[in-house]
Structure formats: C-alpha cells, structure tokens
Symmetry: C2
C-alpha cells in the first residue's frame, strides 16, 4: 500500500486520458467524482470485484485523472479537475456532459447514493 505514483500535470497525455475514459466503469467513477468531493474508497460502489475496482482506479490515477490520498488504512480519491482543465481545457466538461446525457457508468455510485 505504498504511495502510488501520480503523473505531473505536464506528463498527462491525451491518448492515455482517452484510453482511461474508454471504459464505462471508469467513466462512472469520474462522474461520481465530478462534483469535486473527495470520496473514500469504501464509499464507491461498482459491480466488479474489489481487485477490479482497484485496477480501474489505478488506470485513472496513472492517466492523471484522479489523485489518491492515504489516511491510515483508508484512502480517498478525487478528480484532478484543475490539472485537467489546465492541460486539456474543456475536455472534462464536454465528457461529463456527454456522459450525463447518455447516462454512461450508471452502475457506479456511492454508498447511500442512487446506485448504491
């Protein structure tokens, strides 16, 4: 559970971001984090095994979409909206809007949320 690697803002690449957003589960995770609130790992709900969820969160983290923070044994995830806006202006807005309209990643939610 060592501290994970996060790419610098300048290291974020378009193609990696696109690849990260090519899976509905990951788009769902981004949607859950879109409000800017940090979420606890255990709060997240997705119809996959926890190892798979861990894998998806890692892909998002490696692509520079999210930032993970550790606190004791818990960890918290947040969307790197400002870095993304600086790097690819407008991208997240466009993607989130499209994802909302099509309701992509609806299977993903938070504990107590609609999809919980």
């Amino acid at each position: 559970m060592r501290q994970a690697h996060h790419p610098e803002q300048a290291e974020i690449t378009l193609t990696e971001v696109m690849a990260a957003l090519s899976d509905p589960i990951r788009v769902g995770l981004v949607r859950v984090l879109a409000d800017g609130h940090e979420r606890g790992w255990g709060e997240l709900r997705a119809p996959v095994a926890k190892s798979t969820l861990s894998h998806h969160l890692r892909v998002l983290r490696d692509a520079g979409l999210t930032r993970t923070r550790q606190e004791g044994t818990r960890c918290y995830v947040a969307l790197r909206r400002e870095d993304l806006q600086a790097r690819f202006p407008g991208l997240m807005h466009v993607v989130l809007t499209a994802a909302e309209i099509d309701d992509i990643g609806r299977q993903v939610g938070v504990k107590g949320g609609l999809a919980g």
Copy 2:
C-alpha cells in the same frame, strides 16, 4: 470491398469514440481530416503497413468518427464533424486543439504534406 457499415449519429457512443482516440495513429488521421476535406486512402501516409492502416480506418469508421465513400476502386475518407458536434458538442474541438498542441500523431500525414 463491399460497402462498410457506418453507425447512425445516435448510435455513436462516447466510450467507443474515446477508445478510437486512444491511439496516436488514429488521432493523427483525425488531425489530417480535421480541415473537413475528404481525403483519398492512397493520399494518407502513416508508418504502418496498409493492412494496419486499413484496420485503424475501420476502427474510426466503426466508432462513427469518419465516413468512407467508394468511387471505383478508390475510396475517400472524411471526418463526420457535424454528426460528432451534434452528438458530443465541443468534443472534437477540444480534442483537436489538444492534439495540435501536443503534436500527437505527427507521424501521420498526406502525400505531399509536411509529414509525407
């Protein structure tokens, strides 16, 4: 060489578009087509075998990013900018801007072009 399938505008999905744009060669192809001009297959220059180029063009076509038209034994490719704009407003603009800045897919060009 039968007529290829093109998804309807409404059938274009965000995740498929993202997946299509997760490869530098394909981003390069989209950049080449970004000016709206239709391009001949043989005009396209990419550092891959023609079967591989055919594959990439197929991925773009299947995702709804491009439209292919046949004329005799030749075929012509064009970006479906209007369909994409209607489906995911602002997406292509954002992606093309980012791709230009980072010069993604620079290896792709047209006969007689800079990367030819």
